[in-house]
Amino acid sequence: MSEPVILLHDLTKEFPADPPVQALSAVNLRVEKADYMAIVGPSGSGKSTLLNTLGLLDRPTSGSYRLDGLETVSMKDNARTTIRGSRIGFVFQSFHLLPHRSVLENVMLAEVYGAARRGGRRERAMRALERVRLSHRVDFLPGRLSGGERQRAAIARALMGEPSLLLCDEPTGNLDSKNTDAVLDLFDELRAQGMTIVVITHENEVSDRAMRRVRITDGVLTEE
């Protein structure tokens, strides 16, 4: 059996306070390739901390986090940055598109910091936009797109460079039900193509569509 995409072992994150706050306490989690998992929980439960740790944006206090079999906790900052850029695609609640750049440029931005060749970047971005069915909005500025289109552009950006993991933080939090459905349909498609997706959400509609659901309460993880 191949390496799991995510393997957490006794992952703990403490924030310095008196007494120290345990945002994550000894979390164990295994996410296989092509898994579609939702992480649910009330606010303040440690959801964001878990997402930041999974996204290599934050370091755990102790424990082990293997991404594609690579131990990331002991890695230096630069190595973590490289892995973050090449193996993880982020989808944010607020899209985080650069307002003054066209959709295509926003998608192409994903490859600026990587090792990929500059040649063919435009074509790869066009393919990513095709996957999210946004080819007709290539030259639009994000401000002229609907919320759902913006999120699809952001997903296209996350898909650039073929990441091992799509990490989504409340991806439908700013969308109406129609656009939410469209984005969730897209996730189903991507999972069917073999993409590993982890979605953090507090919406039942989103978590119901996922294959697995994990609940986090006060830093403790329970699979449902």
Partner: protein
């Protein structure tokens, strides 16, 4: 990260807020303009003043002949100086203490109601004097080689001397008396450009001057072509008195470059400080705006970190943005400065003197200002934690 990607991102970052970028550039534009105008106008003005000196001082060489056991320079020796390449004109002059204050009058009538005696300086010169002092004959003519050879008792008056003696017309061949001797006035010399004191003197041919102790040459006036003064100052003594050239004193014009440097130094010191102050103000402006921009773009920084940008990539982008801002200011400032210099020159009828290096250095200076100004904001941006930036 490919350098072209870095450039693209920086340029896009600047163009995203064009008005702000333009206003930020303004400080550097003003600073660089002031610097370029200061240096350019100083160079132009410096050149201009030297240009005025050139006409007279830079072409005038005077050789003083001291008293010696034998005459160091004979009247005929001046001809050897005239033949030197670069000499426009030359003339020998004899002065003596005993002839410096001679009583001269224009008639022999004793008139108790008028002062007719004038105390004037009497000098002897060779026929080349009018050309050598760059004067002109207001009346009559100067004596020539014939007058000299025959020992004719003729005299030429300086402009002021003629007025003092009341001689205004020569058609009746007026005479002047030096002591008891009468001389025919054949000309009045005026409009002297150098040796202006000769306008108040009475000028005699050498043969006649001997009577008043004016037998030996005491001074030789030489006019050279532009730029030849230095060379002639070395050659003329040898030509005049071979073997005794070290005994002659040469008065040559000061080196033109020194005059230029002195002018530039004066003007520059003041305005350079002004320009540098504006440049510092410009730098503070860039630093401020870049810092505000960094704070505004926290989310963008977070996104870039999430997309795999290392701290150095973030720092490089903001540094490049501020450097480009400064460089743009430098280019515009240099262009504006050059335009101002040309305008000043057009108004003053000067020849603009532009240092090409200066024009090339201005954008570099601007870029440097931008780079320095961007250091702190870029560090702030780079130090930001991605988690904080994305929140």
């Amino acid at each position: 990260m490919h350098p072209r990607d870095l450039l693209n991102e920086a340029v896009a970052g600047l163009l995203a807020r064009p008005v702000r970028s333009a206003l930020t550039t303004l400080g550097t534009v003003l600073g660089i303009t002031t610097l370029v105008v200061t240096l350019g106008v100083a160079a132009t003005a410096g050149n201009q003043i030297v240009g005025r000196f050139d006409e007279l001082v830079a072409t005038s060489v005077t050789i003083e002949v001291p008293k010696h056991a034998f005459p160091l320079v004979d009247w005929a020796d001046v001809g050897r100086v005239t033949r030197l390449r670069g000499v426009a004109s030359a003339a020998a002059l004899a002065e003596a203490e005993q002839s410096a204050n001679l009583s001269v009058r224009s008639n022999d009538i004793v008139d108790p109601t008028r002062v007719v005696d004038q105390t004037l300086t009497v000098l002897a010169s060779d026929p080349g004097l009018p050309a050598a002092v760059k004067g002109r004959m207001i009346e009559g003519r100067y004596f020539d080689a014939g007058h000299v050879a025959r020992g004719d008792k003729v005299v030429v008056l300086g402009q002021h001397a003629a007025r003092l003696l009341g001689i205004t017309r020569l058609d009746r061949a007026p005479a002047v008396f030096i002591g008891t001797q009468a001389y025919t006035v054949i000309g009045v010399l005026g409009d002297l450009k150098r040796e202006k004191s000769l306008a108040g003197a009475v000028l005699l041919p050498p043969a006649v001057g001997k009577r008043y102790g004016l037998s030996t040459v005491t001074r030789v006036l030489v006019n050279t072509g532009l730029g030849a003064a230095g060379l002639i100052a070395e050659q003329a003594p040898v030509a005049l008195s071979p073997g005794n050239e070290a005994l002659l004193q040469v008065i040559s014009p000061p080196s033109p470059t020194r005059a230029r440097d002195a002018v530039e130094g004066d003007v520059n010191a003041l305005f350079l400080i002004l320009g540098l102050v504006s440049l510092v103000v410009g730098a503070v402006g860039i630093a401020n705006v870049t810092l505000v921009t960094v704070m505004e773009r926290i989310a963008e920084i977070g996104l870039r970190r999430a997309l795999g940008a290392a701290r150095r990539h973030i720092a490089a982008q903001f540094l490049l943005e501020s450097t480009l801002t400064g460089m743009t200011g430098g280019v515009i400032g240099a262009s504006g400065g050059i335009l101002v210099i040309v305008a000043v020159c057009a108004a003053k009828q000067w020849t603009p003197v532009l240092d090409v290096q200066l024009a090339a250095m201005a954008p570099v200076a601007g870029a440097l200002v931008g780079l320095l100004a961007g250091l702190y904001p870029a560090l702030r941006a780079a130090r930001m934690e991605p988690v904080t930036a994305l929140r």
